[in-house]
Amino acid sequence: MIAGGCLCGAVRYEANAEPLTMRACWCRFCQHIAAGNAAIGLAFPRKAMTITGELRDYATVADSGSHMHRRFCPSCGVHLFSEAEERLHLIFVRAGTLDDPSIVRPSVVIWTAQAPKWAKIDPDCVRFEGQPPPIA
């Protein structure tokens, strides 16, 4: 079981599956959510995820054209989840919210075209300049 939550503890989650992928995203949107860095996201099957607590939804259309719902805790402002209406079978979890972030090992870096010049990108990761092909 993989568990996590926000900083203040108002939101908690459990996933009873292994992550389908772990990737770092440098899109300009993610830089806002990740305090200037790439956001580290883990994809899970949506049906494997149980969430408790109130979430606020920031809804947008992504650069990829997907209709996104980025959900955060209204009390501490920590972003926990991202879901696309076009892929309702998946949910992305922000790696910083895991109780044990040591399980994370990003293997893919996406939207590198939007990374700042000073970005440090792991040379062992697979790179995509923009949106990668769907994972599932």
């Binding site: 806002h32 009390s75 402002g77």
Partner: protein, 140 residues
């Protein structure tokens, strides 16, 4: 003039000074705010920064012992600022909120003892395992 704001545009700011320092912070709290990564932070003199729009405040005691106020936009959840009660002459701005993040070239990494194994840390930059010495001490 350095400008920025949150994702939804409800919060905007302007700084009429150069940043005192730009650093990446790997403390565990910052990993929550930075989606698992290090936060990239710019320190400015508080008097140089003008802010418009409503902010929510997440208060906590930092590992350094300071009383912190991390401020975020209640509409889009983007963290923009961090302030310590013990150091009211400084305000920290999260680099992702800059209109031009290319100016936020980090000069060092702090709290590297909390960084995950996969962290990609520039070996040419200074590193602090924990809290570094204060910036802007002369203004205290």
């Amino acid at each position: 003039m350095i400008e920025g704001g949150c994702l939804c545009g409800a919060v905007r700011y302007k700084a009429n000074a150069e940043p005192l320092v730009v650093r990446a912070c790997w403390c565990r709290l910052c990993q929550y705010i930075a989606a698992g990564n290090a936060t990239i932070n710019l320190a400015f003199p508080s008097e140089a920064v003008t802010i418009t729009g409503e902010l929510s405040d997440y208060e906590s005691m930092a590992e350094s012992g300071r009383h912190m106020h991390r401020r975020f936009c209640p509409a889009c959840g983007v963290h923009l600022f961090s302030e310590a009660e013990e150091r009211p002459h400084l305000i920290i701005i999260r680099a992702g909120t800059l209109d031009d993040p290319s100016i936020a070239v980090p000069s060092g990494n702090i709290w590297t003892s909390k960084a995950p194994e996969w962290a990609c840390i520039d070996p040419h930059l200074p590193q602090f395992e924990g809290q570094p010495p204060p910036v802007g001490t002369s203004q205290k």
